[in-house]
Symmetry: C2
C-alpha cells in the first residue's frame, strides 16, 4: 500500500475531537518514522449523545477523507465512541486499508495485566452504555465493572490538569494553579471511591483499571493516587499504538527510513482551528500548528 | 391569537437542552393558568460550539414546531446561545407570534438592580464570545465584565448541586453527598475569585451578577456565598418570565381562566426521552413525565 519501499507509511488517525491526539502521541513515540494525518470532527462533537446511525455516518466521512484525500495506508479510530459503535461501518467503507480501534487493544492489555481477572473501566457515558469494553473483556474471560465519569472530559478541556510528562513542552501560562488541580484530584477520588465501593459490594477484586477515554491519560498521575497500591493502569492510547506498531512491524522497518527529530504531521479539523491548536497541544504534548479547516458535509 | 376568550394561551418554550426548564419553572410560578409546550433539541446540543448559521437553522426548526404543530401563541427562547445568535432568524420564521429571548430581560433587570453601573456576567463559552450580554448592557449605560465558566453546566448535569427550593420535590436518592457539593462550591469560588480579581484590576466596581445560562439558577445558593455581601444576583430565567407576564398582562387575566394546581405541560425532546425525564426534574423542580420524542430532521 506504500508508494515505494522508500516512502514512509501514512497513518491516518481519527477522533471526534482532540482526545485522540493522546493516541497520536503514543504512535509518534513508538513509530516516529511514519507520516501522520489526524482529523478531529470538532464541529460535530460530542458523538456520545448521538445515535449509532449518525455516529457511523460521521465516522465514515472522516475515514474516507483520510484514505481517499490524504492517502492513509492504515487507519486508527482513536475515538472510543466511534470504536464502540461504528468500527464495522468504517471497515466496510474503506476496505483497502486495515482499520484498528482503541477498545480491543485496551481489553487485550487488561487481559495481559490482570492476575485476578477482575478489571475496572472508566469512560464516558456513551462508551459505558455501549458496554463495548465489558464485552471485549468478557470474551477474554475477564469480569469488567464500568463507570461513566462525565466530569473528567470537561476538567481536561478546561485545562485543570497537570502531568509533568505532558506539561514540559507547554508555555508557562498554560500551567493551572493549585486550587484547580485540587478540584480535579477530588473529582477523580469521588468517582473512583464509588467504583471501588461498588466492586467491593459485588465481591469483585480488581487489580487493573482501563482508561476508556482518550482524555484520561492526562489525568493518569491523579488517577494513580486514587487507586489502591499496586493497581495497574491501562492506557488504551498506548495499547493501541503498541498493537499497530506490532502489526506494521516489517513495513515500519523498511530500509531507507530513519527516525526524524520532527515527525511529519498534518492536522485537520471541522471547526475552529484556533481552538484546536490551543487545546490540541495539551493532548499531543507538543505544539499543534497549521491545522487546516475541512468541510465534510452532512 | 387565542381560540376564544375562554381558551388559555399556549406559551411555547424552546431550549437546546434541559436548562430552559428553569425558565419554564419561572413562567409556571408567575402564570400557572397558561398552557405550556416545551421542546429541548437534545439530539443536537450543545449549540455553543456550532456556527451561527447552523444554530439559526436548528432554532428555527424548533420554533416552527412549537407554533405550527403545537399552536403556541407566544414563544420564549430559553437558550442563551440561540437568543444571542438566532433571535432575528426565529422572529422572521414565525412572524405571526411574539418572540422573546432571555438576554434583553436579563440586561434590563441588571440595569434596574445596579447602583454602580458595573455588572458581572457568567455564561457559557459561546455566549461570552458573542458578547450579547455586554452589548445589551452597554446600550443601557452599564459596564459589563463577562466570564465563561465551562465546568458549571457539566456539574449541574451530573447533579452535583443542592438547592433547597429545587430539591424538595425530588426523590431522596437524587440528593448528592457532601463531597460532591464541596467540589461544586470550590469550582464556583475559583471562577468568581478570578472574575472579581479581574474587575478590581480594571477599577470595575460591580454590585450585580447576571446568571447568563439557564443551568446556573440551580447553583444560586453556592454563587451567593462566593460573592461579596450585598451583591445582587440576576436570574435571566426569572427576568424573562416576569417580562413575558407583564407583556401578556391582559391576555392572562381573561375571564374564565383559573390557576390550576397542576399546570398543563407538554414536553418534547429530539433525543433520549428517559434522560430528559431524569435530568429535567432537577431543572423544573417537579417530575417531568410523558416526554415525546420528535424528529425535526436536518
Amino acid at each position: 500500500m506504500t508508494d515505494s519501499p522508500s516512502t514512509p507509511l501514512t497513518i491516518g488517525v481519527f477522533d471526534s475531537g482532540f482526545g485522540g491526539l493522546t493516541v497520536l502521541r503514543a504512535l509518534i513515540a513508538r513509530a516516529p518514522q511514519a507520516r501522520y494525518a489526524f482529523i478531529g470532527d470538532t464541529a460535530r462533537l460530542p458523538y456520545g449523545s448521538k445515535s449509532r446511525r449518525t455516529i457511523a455516518r460521521y465516522a465514515v466521512q472522516s475515514a474516507r477523507f483520510l484514505v481517499e484525500e490524504q492517502g492513509a495506508d492504515y487507519l486508527v479510530i482513536a475515538c472510543n465512541t466511534a470504536s464502540a459503535l461504528a468500527l464495522d461501518d468504517i471497515k466496510e467503507a474503506v476496505p483497502s486499508v486495515p482499520v484498528i480501534g482503541v477498545i480491543e487493544p485496551g481489553a487485550e492489555a487488561a487481559h495481559r495485566a490482570s492476575k485476578t481477572g477482575d478489571v475496572l473501566v472508566i469512560a464516558t457515558d456513551a462508551t459505558v452504555r455501549s458496554h463495548a469494553y465489558a464485552t471485549a473483556c468478557q470474551v477474554r474471560g475477564l469480569r469488567a465493572l464500568e463507570k461513566a465519569c462525565p466530569l473528567l472530559v470537561p476538567l481536561v478541556e478546561e485545562g485543570w490538569v497537570m502531568s509533568s510528562s505532558l506539561i514540559q513542552n507547554l508555555p508557562e501560562q498554560d500551567a493551572p494553579a493549585l486550587p484547580q488541580l485540587a478540584v480535579t484530584a477530588e473529582v477523580v477520588r469521588i468517582y473512583l471511591d464509588e467504583l471501588l465501593a461498588d466492586a467491593a459490594s459485588r465481591s469483585h477484586n480488581p487489580d487493573t483499571l482501563v482508561l476508556g477515554c482518550t482524555h484520561y491519560p492526562l489525568l493518569k498521575p491523579v488517577i494513580e493516587r486514587a487507586l489502591p497500591p499496586g493497581a495497574q493502569i491501562i492506557d488504551s492510547a498506548d495499547s493501541t499504538a503498541a498493537q499497530l506498531v506490532m502489526y506494521l512491524g516489517r513495513d515500519l522497518a523498511l530500509p531507507g527510513q530513519t527516525s526524524p527529530a520532527d515527525p511529519v504531521l498534518r492536522f485537520f479539523a471541522t471547526d475552529s482551528v484556533e481552538k484546536f491548536e490551543r487545546l490540541g497541544s495539551r493532548f499531543l504534548g507538543r505544539p499543534v500548528n497549521n491545522v487546516q479547516l475541512v468541510d465534510l458535509g452532512g
